[in-house]
Amino acid sequence: MQKYAHFKGLTIPLLLLLPQLAITVVFFYWPASQAVWQSFLLQDAFGISTEFVWFENYRDLFSKPEYYKALINTGIFSVFVALLSLSLALLFAVMADRQIRGAEIYKTLLIWPYAVAPAIAGVLWIFMFDPSLGMLARGLQSLGVAWNPRLNGNDAMTLVILAATWKQISYNFLFFLAGLQSIPKSVIEAAVIDGARPMRRFWTIVFPLLSPTTFFLLVVNLVYVFFDTFGIIDTISGGGPSGATETLVYKVYSDGKGGTNLGGSAAQSVILLIMVIGMTAFQFRFIERKVNY
């Protein structure tokens, strides 16, 4: 039996590939190359005077303590968001996978937050936790907690982590649930007959079988925290107070859009691009080995 379909000649395969390639070139390679080019330029906002400055924008970045601070913030932010959203989503998925009444409603409700735009998610959380407006903030204050994300960096970081996690749980939940449902019942039943307790069944059978899903989600979540979270940060804290919640991607956004420092902003996005390529390569090279397909 033939395993793959074969096309004769090159024309048809190329034609079939063309739309995909065209989209990639137009929406990825072209803008990415523009970013690289822009990162070597010093230019005013209107693009009237342009000077080619080689690596000056990069040197400038690495000479500023704020950039290192943003780097550390990104580390803290991404580790917490990825860990929290993955583990909570897994917990919810395992719960939802059981035979319970009204499971469909429960699942639907868990998926809903994914439909909320990042900026709206940010606003929702600020409505709950704003020190003057927020119901929950008032609750905290009445318990004697000096909650003030407006001025306290740790409070602000906690808030953006919670909002970004909340936003991502649905997505992770969906994949974990699908992963759980694709595990053959017979395997679990065999383990039950062998007398394995639920926890042991989970760690020795379910979790390893979920590893491709977990690995995929790890990559996706990392891309999410690196690129998709600036809407949340913008609406909740605007990178403040005092730069406590300024992550790398937020800095790209605020320097480029608000500050019209296009060269510096482009240099930052190039660095970010290299970092994500590096991390994805690392994950596929080393972590993927532990994945059983």
């Binding site: 010093l42 005013d44 209107f46 005077s49 407006r150 605007g238 005092s242 730069g243 605020s254 500050g259």
Partner: protein, 438 residues
């Protein structure tokens, strides 16, 4: 791609022109950032202008917040599609004026079109901000405001304070302490627009420079002076009072303004354009007063500086289009129109004649809070330190300053160290701007 589009547009325009020669109206694109009631004002102005004559048609387009509108305009210019008129907030002034070739000074637009135009008929405190040091008007003032102190009369009464609001900063601090003791324990006083209140307006109001070269008016090779005594003293006071819970930080922009209308903060410094909001939402007796000052600073108070936005005319358009723009600006300068705009929207009148007319009508007797910003602006003849601020990249620099002020308020840095850092980082941004603005 662009070429093709242009050809297509040209062909389309030609076809239209050929089909309807009687309707040879010249379109004037006006991009703005006004929402809500102010958006209605913009739309109504355009409609009135369009109805008043047949040759030109002003088409308005809302482009988002002030920074969004500025970015949209910049992007459109880079793509060769800039609108004729762009509303730009005062912070973007240096960015616009450095873009030679991208803009056309309003003075030239009026002169070329042969419109009668006397820069002296406009309020100097407002036009000074948008003119060169030689007095050439670069952009047309549209919506201007200044910073005032809003106060809650009921709260002052509750705390046993005199009916007249505190005048000086030491008085404000004392009043805020009493307010805290009287139950306003979350916030005695606060400010919106952190750097506008505590750096830019503070400097002008005390005749102390924010930067060299007349606060940037005399050239881009300017340096900041925001770590001088006055600023350090003020920030030290704020940081100490923040610790005591008497002052309470309300964020970088005006997002904290709701703390005044909800009754949480009885003394609140923010824009005079907050008027509409206060009128609609405050459920207590309120008014406003001039900004407080430090009585030990000689000559204080000086005069305040404006905020809000002006209209910039973009470069590279046809003579006929500029004529339409000029006609529209003449239309906007009309005394009765200015009177109406001022008394209905709360924005400042831009011409002296309009101000005098409102004053003569006795309107301010019933609505004194609408005159406060004008009294502040005209308090004294503006000096080099109080004409305004014109620094390139001020949008970004304000964020840098806010970052450092926040670090002082939450105790991470001493006020002096924070302002030193703010000054240095601001200077770095200025040097970068200077290099690109040739």
């Amino acid at each position: 791609m662009t070429f093709k589009l242009k050809t297509l547009t040209a062909v389309g325009a030609f076809a239209l022109a050929a089909a309807s020669p009687a309707l040879a109206q010249t379109e004037i694109q006006w991009w703005h950032a006004m929402t809500g009631a102010n958006n209605d004002v913009v739309v109504k102005l355009a409609e009135e202008f369009n109805a008043s004559q047949k040759d030109y048609k002003v088409v308005v387009a809302y482009k988002g917040s002030y920074p969004d509108t500025l970015n949209a305009g910049i992007a459109a210019f880079r793509a060769g599609n800039a609108p004729h008129i762009m509303q730009v907030f005062e912070v973007g002034t240096a960015t616009m004026m450095s873009a030679k070739g991208a803009i056309k000074p309003v003075a030239d637009v009026m002169k070329d079109a042969g419109e009668s135009f006397d820069p002296k008929s406009y309020l100097p405190a407002i036009t000074g901000y948008y003119s060169t040091t030689k007095g050439e008007m670069l952009s047309f003032p549209f919506n201007s405001s200044s910073m005032v102190m809003w106060y809650n009369k009921d709260a002052l009464k509750k705390a046993g304070l005199p009916e007249a609001p505190p005048k000086t900063w030491p008085e404000v601090f004392e009043a805020a302490k009493k307010l805290k003791a009287a139950g306003f324990d979350k916030c005695g006083f606060s400010t919106a627009w952190t750097t506008w209140a505590n750096i830019e307006q503070l400097g002008a109001w005390h005749n102390v420079p924010v930067g060299t070269k007349a606060n940037g008016f005399d050239g881009f090779d300017t340096e900041f002076r925001i770590n001088s005594d006055l600023f350090v003293k003020h920030l030290t006071n704020l940081a100490n009072l923040q610790k005591e819970g008497v002052f309470s930080y309300s964020g970088r922009t005006n997002t904290g303004e709701g703390r005044f209308t909800s009754g949480e903060c009885p003394l609140f410094l923010t824009s005079s354009a907050f008027f509409g909001n206060v009128k609609a939402n405050a459920k207590f007796d309120w008014s406003n007063a001039p900004m407080p000052y430090y009585p030990d600073v000689a000559g204080a108070p000086q005069n305040s500086i404006i905020g809000g936005a002006s209209l910039w005319v973009m470069g590279g358009k046809k003579a006929d289009e500029y004529k339409g723009v000029a006609k529209f600006f003449t239309f906007l300068s009309d005394v009765d129109r200015q009177v109406k705009l001022h008394t209905e929207s709360g924005y400042l009148p831009i011409t002296k004649a309009a101000y005098e007319k409102v004053k003569a009508s006795g309107f301010y007797k019933q609505n004194p809070y609408l005159e406060t910003p004008l009294l502040e602006l005209n308090n004294k003849e503006p000096t080099d330190n109080s004409r305004g601020v014109r620094f390139g990249g001020l949008v970004q620099i304000r964020d840098i300053w806010s970052e450092e002020i926040e670090a002082a308020l939450n105790g991470q840095k001493t006020p002096k160290a924070a302002l030193d850092a703010a000054n240095d980082r601001g200077n770095q941004a200025l040097r970068q701007f200077e290099r690109t603005a040739k």
